[in-house]
Symmetry: C2
Subunit: 321 residues, 2 copies
């Protein structure tokens, strides 16, 4: 795993210093796929019992098993992935509103493959680093989005000081400000308490219109689904409705039922509808691999669930009408 | 640990079948204190560096160390605890609005001791069961509250069906309904999707006025602080403001800094103020051991932080003006 861990460190460093890292990220995916093909076996794991059933594969090595993978949207070798990735880079020559259905599917599958390849390597050979696949998801998506929105301002923080009224919440006190990581991850929670911004996964801001797109990335072990809706509510309350819009981008959270060799799609349509209606409405919910129950009509009426291919188009339309 | 684990199972069963369990709970605390005194050593651990500094002790056994304990509010042996608990039972002869300052402090310290004694046993001898101390906190508090509010209706669920408008969110679909545990704890997330209520730690309802008090219990490893505010917002939105009020009851979350032998008080005043102002206002925040930074004036202005002793008085006044 040294090559992959070193690669993660390198692209994290590029990302944190606001340098382009898309080619390095794609290259890391190729290394991960080659490692999986060389050292693990990739076989049918089980079905999600739905209508219709959905088949999942998994990688196995020395008694360890990776998370379930959808073979229909996963490029299982680095040659296929490289080819699709190059085609995606060509798609960037045109804005996403001009992408064909095939190009949108390719964008979706490139993201899925990239994130799952890294995640499966960590599942097999570095189980302690549970959060790294989520970090890669975020960095990889940011890299792709920088190709689409080269002129826009990218950030992870929304300063909250500007809405503070009459000093009631002063700068020092507003502190950690809804940072999702405070309670679980911080090395020293007291240090975090001096930040005066709301931390999200990614914010893209149009300097011209002042409108911002907030993009929480969700994958197993990341924050709970309540977080993006709570953030949206805070932003609506603090800045007024319309200034910030959230598009939640997910890689399906699945659960292995090892006893019965089947796959559960972790999926909470009731909760999402409740939050959408009674907490704050988000602009969209996007999945590389949409859980089947999100296709229900009442869900689609309240909050359409679309593919990550559609996400690029909708994000483009959000800024450019 | 067999005696304590069996005791937990027994009181959980009593609680789940709506039987009184307060004496059994107190007895379990005595067993835990005796076990700690017999098998562990209880010594000064380190200070929280504040103004003034706060000293913490910890239990140690065979290289394991418990969470930090505040000796000034902890009855360190079962005799002292039994005596204080009996005095608390006597206090229940009068309603909490008549309690003296000493009685309120005793109630606070009995709760703190009970929860910390169980928690420290699990820290030393059953580290895998991270959630059990939180469960005991909930059950022990419910047992005490049943003494105060014997005539009231106790529950853990708020049915949401009654606010569903025109079937837009139908019964099946509303599903898991904001249950905090869905994503992390459920054995089979798809089964959870058929619940049609909002699950909280404890709801006490006055059958006469229809008013309900929602009581989330917070301790390390429990849900994040966003959850009670998000729930309050959903309840306000679904049922109108004033029907449900949340009192958050906490045992301080501390963090051991082993390198420097000091204790950090995990404490997020900025986040709490942000949520209180922009998510939904809760009725109160109560701590057995209030983190020092919650005493800041701007915090106290927006959301007073009081002791768990005060909680019993405020809960009483909530129902009986």
């Amino acid at each position: 795993m040294k090559d992959i861990k070193d690669g993660m460190t390198a692209i994290s460093k590029l990302y944190n210093t606001k340098k382009t890292h898309i080619l390095e990220s794609a290259n890391l995916v190729c290394i991960a796929l080659e490692k999986l093909n060389a050292l693990a076996s990739y076989e049918y794991y089980g079905d999600f019992k739905g209508n219709p059933n959905v088949s999942y594969c998994a990688f196995t090595n020395s008694g360890n098993i990776s998370r379930p993978v959808r073979p229909d949207i996963f490029y299982s070798n680095s040659g296929e992935f490289s080819h699709a990735f190059s085609a995606l880079m060509e798609s960037f020559q045109r804005t996403p509103d001009h992408w064909t259905h095939e190009e949108k599917k390719r964008a979706n599958d490139v993201v899925y493959t990239g994130v799952m390849a890294i995640a499966c390597c960590y599942d097999l050979w570095q189980r302690g680093s549970r959060k790294t696949p989520g970090t890669f998801f975020e960095i990889f998506m940011a890299g792709i989005l920088q190709e689409v929105f080269a002129e826009y301002y990218f950030s992870k923080h929304i300063p909250l000081t500007e809405f503070l009224e009459g000093g009631e919440l002063d700068n020092d006190a507003i502190a950690e400000a809804a940072n999702e990581n405070i309670e679980d991850d911080s090395e020293d929670p007291e240090l975090k308490d001096s930040v005066s911004s709301l931390s999200t996964d990614l914010v893209i801001k149009s300097v011209i219109s002042g409108k911002s797109l907030v993009i929480p990335f969700k994958i197993t072990t990341r924050e709970r689904i309540v977080q993006p809706f709570a953030h949206q509510r805070i932003l609506d309350s603090a800045f007024g409705i319309g200034r910030f819009t959230s598009f939640i981008v997910c890689i399906s959270e699945t659960q292995q039922d090892k006893k019965n060799s089947k796959v559960n799609q972790v999926c909470v349509p009731g909760t999402v509808k409740l939050y959408q209606k009674h907490l704050a409405p988000v602009g969209g919910l996007y999945y590389c691999d949409t859980p089947q129950r999100y296709n229900a009509l009442d869900m689609q009426k309240l909050l359409p669930v679309k593919t990550v291919g559609d996400f690029f188009v909708d994000a483009y339309h959000f800024f450019v009408n």
